[in-house]
Amino acid sequence: MAEAKEKDPLFSPKNRKLLSEPLVLNNPITVQVLGICSALAITVKLEPSVVMAISVIAIMGIANLIISIIRKLIPPRIRIIVMLTVISSLVVLTDQILEAFLYDVSKQLSVFVGLIITNCIIMGRLEAFASNNKPWPSFLDGIGNAFGYAWILVVVGFFRELLGSGEIYGYPLMEKLGMYQIGYVDNGLMILPPAALFIVGIIIWVHRGKNEELVDIS
């Protein structure tokens, strides 16, 4: 147990990196290309994107923490099932709590809360990080990756709602600006799932243009 004796400060450079790396350099969506399916499904409007982002951040942080705490007890042969059980219990708990205390939010998310279970980022981080690392770094890794996922989700949701419905967070921006009178038309394509891929594609393009170390990463 030599590793346990080293005292890392809570926000040592190593730990800070766990938090910041997934935001840009190792972003789960644009670099690891995980969690794309939910990025397509829920980003038609900004509001569900934001709520989904918050839920994923909470669930991922806690799931990583729990798996890391019990990592030495989990039999390797059934580890995937154990992870799934932990994630789905957390998702069911979140759903129940939202329904009791934040009923409107829970209605808005409806089926998407359940979709969190299938979010490959969570499974991916549990398997790749939390099952081999101590609780605190695992928690940071979970939060970091969830934030990396979250900001892409919010950006995609922002553009899809703005261009597809002419609104931002339900506020009819284009109408207030008088764009429709001068012949502006909402782009119906942005409402459809492929539009999310186009926007994610553009983000990846800009992203790689700015970070040369990501090019030809294979």
Binding site: I42, V44, K45, P48, L73, I74, P75, P76, R77, I78, I81, V82, T85, S89, V92, L93, Q96, I97, E99, A100, F101, Y103, D104, S110, V111, F112, E161, G164, S165, G188, I191, L192
Partner: protein, 253 residues
């Protein structure tokens, strides 16, 4: 790690998780039920053009309720719950507590002959802002991804629509999910479910717009672009829903 360890681990984990989830679910259930009841009241009030927040819905509902009826498939009133006295003048089960999902199943089974007793249908008589009484009919149907439901208020002639409210469990945001917006439900105002000859024609949600179709303006509303299957679901829901009430409507019109 031995097999027996794996079994022990799995058993403990499953029991633990089940216990936690059951505990939380039963602790939170009363709050969730209250939310759902308040929401149902809010939706019924919404159809009667009374917009309230969910917190004040229970209070306003009591104030605006004239009576809750249960109606047999033959059109007879079997239960009357008086809203102002808050007591039953006939029957003993509150129509408000009827579960629409179960009711739709029962109706289907009854028509197929696999259910003996005929179900009864709920109907809410509300007082609107002008002190006119409105008949609010609850409806339930299927959208693209799951159930959709709504309430439609008819004026005293049991023909003209005074208002409507719709909601859904999980239709696509920005597309089918728009059925719960005011822009959609406001279109139903002053449409009619019977034509001039007294035939039931219902109200259709028309793809491409009512103006461009052969359907007269008082029997159709515009569909949601990109939400065709949800829109069709609303059309079927209204038509199927009112069909069960037709004997009652014909009797009291």
């Amino acid at each position: 790690m031995s097999d027996s360890y794996i079994f022990r681990f799995a058993t403990i984990m499953v029991v633990l998780v089940a216990a936690i989830l059951t505990l939380v679910a039963s602790l939170l259930k009363p709050m969730q039920e209250d939310n759902r009841r308040a929401e149902k009241m809010q939706e019924i009030l919404g159809a009667a053009n009374i917009n309230v927040s969910r917190d004040s819905a229970i209070h306003v509902y009591q104030h605006r309720l004239i009576a809750e009826y249960a109606i047999s498939l033959q059109g007879d009133i079997t239960t009357v719950y008086d809203g102002s006295k808050q007591e039953f003048t006939k029957g003993e089960n509150r129509p408000f507590e009827m579960d629409m999902k179960r009711l739709m199943n029962d109706l289907e089974r009854y028509e197929k002959g696999s259910l003996e007793t005929a179900p009864t249908l709920p109907l809410f008589i509300m007082r609107d802002h002008n002190d006119d009484s409105l008949f609010v009919f609850p409806l339930r149907g299927n959208g693209l991804w799951g159930p959709i439901w709504g309430n439609m208020a008819l004026k005293n002639d049991l023909n003209t629509v005074a208002g409507a409210s719709f909601d859904h469990a999980g239709e696509t945001p920005g597309l089918g999910a728009q059925i719960n917006t005011d822009q959609f439900s406001e279109q139903f105002e002053n449409t009619r479910i019977f034509d001039d000859d007294g035939e039931f024609v219902s109200i259709k949600v028309v793809k491409g717009g009512v103006e461009n179709s052969s359907i007269p303006g008082d029997h159709g509303v515009d569909a949601i672009s990109g939400g065709t299957i949800t829109s069709n679901g609303v059309t079927h829901m209204i038509e199927d829903g009112f069909r069960y009430y037709l004997p009652f409507i014909k009797k009291y019109q």
